[in-house]
């Protein structure tokens, strides 16, 4: 539940911050600087919210956790954009949207999750955290994109940005939760509950 809230809040705040910056920012510095900023803000929100669970469950220093999540978010979103654009050029658009589009979205999400997982695992000290984050984010990113495009659910359409983050967070939280179950012990440094 913490991770769902964290990711929903993360994308919502990040879009607000990026939207508040005048357009010349993008034109002058380029889209990659903008998406790095998006990832930093996203990571800060995710890291801070996850600390609520972390501090109650174990011994994680709040500063390093938040900073590494910010770094993971920045690198992850930049890499996801590059991977998505590259695959978009390589994969024929005339094929099945489920296979072609799905491959692009899932791979982009997996790259995002990989970056966040690598960054957070340096604090969480669990190598399986990396795999769980990558798999969860890949499935979550793909599911969020598909659900918001294909399903005509008014509440999702009306809350598109937090809904995207919540679906992404749901899948990452479930995957990370699987890791935590395997490692659960009194000194566990849990991020998902």
């Amino acid at each position: 539940m913490t991770t769902i809230v964290a990711y929903a809040l993360g994308v919502t705040i990040a879009t607000k911050v990026l939207g508040a910056i005048p357009p010349p920012f993008g034109a002058v510095l380029g889209g990659m600087a903008a998406i790095a900023l998006f990832g930093v803000v996203f990571g800060a929100a995710v890291g801070v919210v996850q600390l609520v669970a972390l501090r109650g469950a174990g011994r994680v220093r709040s500063g390093p956790w938040t900073v590494t999540t910010m770094l993971g978010g920045a690198v992850g979103f930049m890499a996801a954009a590059l991977v998505g654009e590259t695959l978009g050029d390589l994969i024929s658009p005339t094929g099945s949207i489920v296979i072609g589009g799905g491959t692009i979205e899932i791979t982009s999400g997996a790259v995002l999750g990989l970056a966040i997982g690598v960054a957070q695992s340096s604090i969480a000290r669990r190598r399986a955290w990396i795999l769980a984050s990558a798999v969860g984010a890949g499935l979550g990113y793909g599911a969020a994109t598909a659900a918001l495009e294909l399903l005509e659910v008014p509440v999702l359409k009306a809350n598109l940005i937090p809904a995207f983050g919540a679906i992404l967070g749901l899948f990452i939280g479930l995957a990370q939760g699987v890791v935590l179950v395997g490692y659960r012990r009194p000194s566990a440094t849990s991020a998902s509950d």
Binding site: G30, A34, G84, E85, E105
Partner: protein, 168 residues
């Protein structure tokens, strides 16, 4: 007949590769539809992310019709379904049945995007369409790049939308 020929041409070109300007569209009576002569593109083409999915048929096309629905998407675009006036029905392909027989119109970078590719692309868009968007039920003219969306069955779209206004 001409509509079918246009469709066949579009499908053939879709198989050959993306982003080729191919034909002047005609309406159901065979008359050319207004394109570059009365319709001027803006700089928005470069902000349509994942461009390989869009098969360009004409650089600019003007249509008139009635707004049926309008929804925001995760890539920051708006998906507008337009019921075309009879003179313009020839721009539709059979694949537009997937859009309930409507023309799909997509102004780009209208809202904050959450998909990574679109965030990057839209952050570079210093001058997105500022006209606001038409309400459902409005009878409007619209001008945009006339494309087949190869990722969505090959249906016809105006993507991006350049401008719109009340139809005369």
């Amino acid at each position: 007949m001409r509509s079918a020929a246009l469709t066949a041409l579009g499908v053939l070109l879709a198989a050959c590769g993306p982003a080729v300007q191919v034909a002047v569209p005609v309406n159901t009576r065979g008359a050319p539809l207004p394109t570059q002569a009365t319709c001027i593109p803006t700089d928005q083409d470069q902000y349509a992310y994942r461009p390989a999915r869009l098969q360009v048929i004409a650089a600019c096309l003007r249509i008139t019709g009635t707004i049926v629905s309008s929804t925001v998407e995760a890539d920051g675009d708006v998906h507008i379904n337009v019921r075309l006036d009879p003179d313009y029905e020839g721009v539709l392909t059979p694949e537009n049945r997937e859009a309930q027989g409507n023309l799909v119109v997509e102004p780009v970078c209208q809202f904050p995007a959450v998909q990574a590719e679109a965030i990057r692309v839209c952050a570079s868009d210093g001058d997105p369409l500022h006209d606001g968007l038409p309400a459902v039920g409005a009878h409007v003219f619209m001008e945009g790049r006339y494309v087949l969306d190869l990722q969505h069955h090959g249906w016809a779209e105006l993507h991006p939308l350049y401008r719109w206004g009340a139809a005369p």
